[in-house]
């Protein structure tokens, strides 16, 4: 049976990811054929398959198109300043160890203005999952060149083609210390969901890059066709190479894209190392931050009449 539904007629129970979305805010602001919605779709599916208490999952975004993700997930969600999602998430996670904290943002936000935070969070192996939607340009502001724009690509601020070398994100994440690094496209939804699930389950700094079309700006300006054409290209021009050396997967303009899970290792987290060091120095005097005292106070307050 095929059911076509509109508006109120839709069966709520069938749209079973709606409880993870602020559906009162849909449709979202992203352009037709943009992949961010698909990345978010995969994220909700990954959350649905994992067994997290959704009251204990928080999403932090920065600024930009992908930064709007925080506004559409029905979780504790924070839409912060440009580039600062990771440090905001750092405070959130360390102050409240009960939380599973996911940073969901774009390439310009996380890697350019937030690049320093990105490498340091990976270095510290903070217990965060970072999902980076890479659409190769600053889309929200009109398609300027970004830290991931391939050489030769035309952007509004590189009208004669980009001459700068871009960052290769898996290489950057891995060399900075991430314990989990994967790259998929918005076409490879099942693998992307698995990667998001694995990344969230990982203790430490996990990183998933999601290659996405930007049909309105990057794709159009570079005569790469429509968003749908990009999706076809992801099917035809990508190679899955699990375990490929992260520094070997750089993306070139018009070139094939290497996908896969590149890093999956165990390392003590920031908190593990801190606890060990403190116990070694202070013994029983060390008190780990199990739960913020203020939250305990609130629970008392709620019980009182």
């Amino acid at each position: 049976m095929i059911v076509k539904e509109t508006g109120d007629a839709a069966s709520e129970s069938v749209f079973n990811r709606e409880d993870m979305l602020r559906s009162d805010r849909l449709p979202h602001i992203w352009c037709p054929e943009c992949g961010i919605g698909t990345a978010l779709s995969c994220f909700t599916s990954a959350l649905g398959r994992s067994n997290y208490d959704l009251d204990k999952v928080a999403v932090v975004s920065g600024i930009g198109c992908s930064g709007r993700v925080a506004g559409y997930v029905k979780l504790d969600s924070f839409h912060t300043t440009h580039g600062r999602a990771i440090p905001f998430a750092t405070g959130l996670r360390l102050a409240n160890p009960e939380l599973k904290v996911v940073v969901f943002s774009g390439d310009g936000d996380l890697i350019s203005i937030g690049g320093n935070h990105f490498i340091h969070a990976a270095r510290r192996n903070l217990d965060l999952t970072v999902i980076c939607v890479n659409n190769f340009n600053y889309a929200m502001t009109g398609g300027q060149v970004g830290p991931t724009t391939p050489v030769g690509a035309v952007c509004s601020t590189t009208p004669f083609g980009n001459s700068e070398l871009p960052f290769n994100l898996p290489g950057l994440a891995a060399s900075s210390g991430a314990v989990y690094v994967a790259r998929w496209t918005t076409l490879h939804v099942r693998r992307l969901i698995t990667a998001m699930e694995e990344a969230m389950a990982k203790r430490g700094f996990s990183f998933v890059e999601v290659i996405s079309p930007c049909p309105t700006l990057y794709t159009r300006r570079n005569k790469l066709g429509t968003g749908l054409d990009r999706m076809r290209d992801y099917r035809d021009s990508s190679d899955i190479r699990h375990g490929a050396a992260p520094d070997s997967v750089a993306i070139e303009f018009g070139g094939r894209i290497t996908l896969g899970k590149f890093v999956d290792v165990e390392k003590p987290t920031f908190q593990d190392r801190l606890d060990d060091a403190m116990r070694a120095s202070l013994g029983d005097k060390y008190r780990k931050n199990d739960r913020p005292p203020a939250v305990q106070a609130s629970r008392r307050a709620i019980r009182e009449p």
Binding site: K4, E5, A10, V14, F15, R17, L21, R232
Partner: protein
Amino acid sequence: MKARTSSRFWREPLDAAKRIVPRGSVHIREERCKGCNFCVEFCPRDVLVSSPRFNLKGYHPPDVLTDRSCTACRLCELLCPEFAIAVSDAEREVPHAS
């Protein structure tokens, strides 16, 4: 079974005749659709086509081309950037026959 443009490496499973193929129902919230056609393009069983209708925003939402071929793989649901598609399990009926 017809050749599929979206799966270059498709071959008929040897035990196809014995398999029970799940059935699905595709639910569409037309008002959310922005007409990207990801669902139409990548549906492995070509269940969906772009309709000639306009929704309120002026996009062509998907329409059903082939009845009863949906296998509830949910690829359209996952790919849809607009959360406009949900797939539910339909009753399992007869064993699949091509």
